[in-house]
């Protein structure tokens, strides 16, 4: 190469002094690192993140935070059909109609929601990833087959499925998980498939083929990483729905049969009869459900924006 040189001329020492040491990142900024930076600057993400963190730590640390045992109904004698004892130092939020400590119930309720919500979303996510991933990777008749399976799943009402599963396996939290997960599989499967099909037509996939990479390599290291971010976002949003659904199904009496297991949806049922005299019995778990769902939604939406290439400027 004679006509052009790509080397910079030697810098005199004085110039180097003016320029200072050039700060060069050895590593580039990956999509996720960039998204993380943008999330830190987004107030909605911070609020959502704080709520989610709070929810998770309360759920994990419930035994440490709660003043009493969740199954304890030892104060049942203090409850009369028409009145509840007022809040005291021992029971900061008072008792529920069955004689349990309300604060304890709320704290342990977070635990139930988190476990069932996260597990069912994980099941739904993995089911959706498998169905959608296989459909997106192979296309053709495999795609058609997978999408018909998704259609079948979609045609089953979640509520009916939950009742049926509960009828078969008994009233266990697993019934809730399966029902909620079954409703989520189609969402993830369709999202991933659509996203992968879009990526498959990109030039870089064609370029990878022209470089002699195997289909497996291309799908795993090129198509999937580019298709996965909307699915991650959706998982965060779906977690919010899952928590609401857990509450709804428990409200209908489909959760654990033991009435002393604290669950926000169940607490609504318990407080329902005293709505007029003691509204806080339903209001507090209701607020817990709403705030948690809001937290996940805020986080999910900001994650979507942070991962969107169009909003990279911020």
């Amino acid at each position: 190469m004679s006509s052009t040189t790509h080397e910079l001329p030697e810098r005199p020492a004085s110039l180097a002094a003016v320029m200072g040491e050039q700060n060069v990142d050895e590593k580039g900024i990956s999509l996720w690192a960039g998204a993380w930076r943008r999330l830190q600057r987004d107030p909605a993400a911070i609020i959502g993140g704080i709520i989610v963190l709070l929810f998770i730590s309360v759920a994990l640390a419930a035994p440490l935070l709660a003043p009493h045992q969740p199954s304890s109904v030892e104060w049942a004698g203090e409850v009369t059909p028409s009145s509840l004892p007022p809040a005291s130092a021992d029971h900061p939020l008072g008792l529920d109609p069955f004689g349990s400590d309300l604060l304890t119930q709320l704290l342990y309720g977070a635990r139930q929601s988190l476990i069932i919500g996260v597990v069912s979303t994980l099941i739904g996510l993995s089911g959706g990833l498998v169905l959608g991933g296989v459909a997106g990777a192979f296309g053709g008749w495999v795609d058609t087959l997978m999408m018909r399976i998704v259609d079948i799943l979609l045609s089953i009402p979640a509520l009916l499925l939950a009742v049926s599963v509960a009828a078969i396996v008994g009233r266990r939290p697993e019934a809730l998980m399966i029902a909620i997960a079954a409703a989520q599989v189609p969402i993830f499967a369709r999202l991933l498939r659509g996203s992968m099909l879009k990526q498959r037509n990109q030039d870089y996939v064609l370029a990878s083929f022209s470089l002699g990479l195997r289909r497996r390599t291309i799908v795993m290291s090129h198509v999937l990483p580019n298709s996965i971010s909307p699915v991650i976002v959706q998982a965060t949003l779906t977690l919010a729905t899952a928590i609401i659904e857990v509450a709804a199904l428990s409200y209908l009496g489909l959760g654990a049969p033991d009435p002393t297991v604290a669950e926000w949806g169940r607490m609504l049922v318990k407080g329902q009869e005293r709505l007029a005299s003691a509204p806080h019995l339903t209001l507090l778990p209701g607020i817990c459900i709403a705030v948690t769902a809001l937290g996940f939604t805020l986080l999910g939406e900001s994650l979507r924006e942070a991962l969107d290439p169009k909003s990279r400027r911020r």
Binding site: M1, S3, T4, H6, E7, L8, V24, D25, E26, K27, G28, I29, S30, L31, G140, Q202, D203, Y204, L206, A207, S208, F209, S210, L211, G212, L213, R214, T217, S221, H222, P225, N226, P309
Partner: protein
């Protein structure tokens, strides 16, 4: 539907084929890539179909740079995609053969083709913005190819990739190695793409309009880089372009395509000095020239390509041709020898007298580019 008259020239002539002075002498009579009667038909719904490439023949000898020129939709990209086996299977019919080193790429088992692609056979795409995976580092995308084709340790692959980036004129290659495509400029990305394509020292490099998405300064740099690398490695190259300037500066032989067929094949000098086909003539005529008066209008080729005129019954260029005759639209026009290694598909070809005035300028600029790169 395909004519037989323009089949491969007899081997005797090929053996004595001597390239122009200053070019690589080609002693090997065996072409590296021999495309014969290649047709690509896309079927649409309701049984309709569209033939994008219609009986194309060309060959590429080892170390040779062959140009394929034509306007949008003339089938140049489809030709290259068919050769690389990159067209979708569904709705596409590919006929003919494309022999690479003696074996037909079109009927080759998939695994073998996968091994060949990226190894002996590589391709540089048009748009450097979309041809790199945005979420994978440049380095990963390079080493991936090395690992796919060779048994090589991660460290060696890294060293080799960085060295290749440096050779492709990327400053600070060790840093670029760890960066993502969006951190590179367009020209830099095209250099990275070229580096990736050349990673395994292919014997044939297909460049599908590698400079179209770049600005003129970068275009010149990238072309210069390509010429130099290809010459150093002894790689043969197919340069697909719609830019006659690129052809003038780079190619040894040129195929001009129009509406899915090759209308003229010529050595570079002959193409610019004495284009025979009226389409080639019109293309060269429409290039603005430095010695032209500024108020003088350019001479365009009127109209746009129409796919309603079938090559099987007429010259598809006839509706736009200023010199159309009755003979142009009565029968299929064969590709005929009109000079040494020079073939044209025209019944009323341009004469030397018509050509004498127009070509000096283009040729001169092409030569300048060539000399500069040497």
């Amino acid at each position: 539907m395909t004519d037989t008259t323009d089949k491969t020239p007899d081997t005797g002539q090929k053996n004595i084929a001597v390239k122009d002075a200053g070019q690589k002498a080609v002693a090997d009579p065996q072409p590296l890539l021999d495309v014969k009667n290649l047709s690509v038909t896309f079927s649409k719904r309701k049984g309709e179909s569209f033939t994008a490439v219609d009986g194309v023949d060309f060959d590429v000898r080892p170390g040779e740079v062959v140009g394929i020129v034509g306007e949008s939709g003339s089938g140049k990209s489809v030709t290259s995609m068919a050769v690389m086996g990159l067209l979708p299977r569904r709705g596409v019919t590919i006929e003919g053969e494309a022999r690479f080193d003696g074996t037909d790429l079109l009927t080759m088992p998939k695994q073998e083709l996968t091994r060949l692609r990226g190894g002996d056979l590589a391709m540089v795409f048009q748009d450097p913005m979309s041809s790199l995976n945005p979420v994978v580092t440049i380095g990963k995308q390079m080493t991936e190819v090395l690992h796919a084709h060779r048994t090589i340790s991660a460290k060696d692959a890294r060293d080799e990739a960085i060295d290749l980036l440096r050779r492709c004129g990327i400053p600070d290659p060790a840093r670029r190695f760890g960066e993502y495509p969006h951190q590179l400029s367009g020209g830099m990305r095209q250099r990275a793409l070229i580096a990736i394509a050349l990673a395994c020292q292919p014997r044939l490099l297909i460049c599908d309009e590698p400079t179209t998405a770049l600005d003129v300064t970068i275009q010149a740099q990238v072309l210069e880089l390509l010429t130099e690398l290809v010459r150093d490695m002894g790689t043969a190259m197919i340069m697909i372009t719609h830019d006659l300037g690129v052809v003038a500066g780079l190619c040894d032989h040129v195929n001009v395509m129009y509406a899915g067929r090759i209308v003229e094949y010529a050595p570079r000098e002959a193409l610019f000095a004495s284009p025979r086909h009226r389409y080639t003539h019109g293309l060269i005529d429409s290039i603005p020239r430095l010695d032209q008066r500024r108020d003088q209008r350019l001479t365009p080729i009127p109209g746009t390509p129409a796919d309603t005129v079938p090559w099987s019954r007429a010259c598809a260029f006839a509706p736009r041709c200023r010199h159309v005759t009755d003979a142009c639209v009565t029968d299929a026009i064969p590709l005929e020898e009109v000079g040494f290694e020079h073939r044209a598909r025209c019944v009323n070809p341009a004469s030397d007298a018509e050509n004498s005035t127009q070509t000096s300028q283009v040729m001169a600029s092409g030569q300048m580019a060539q000399e500069e790169s040497e």
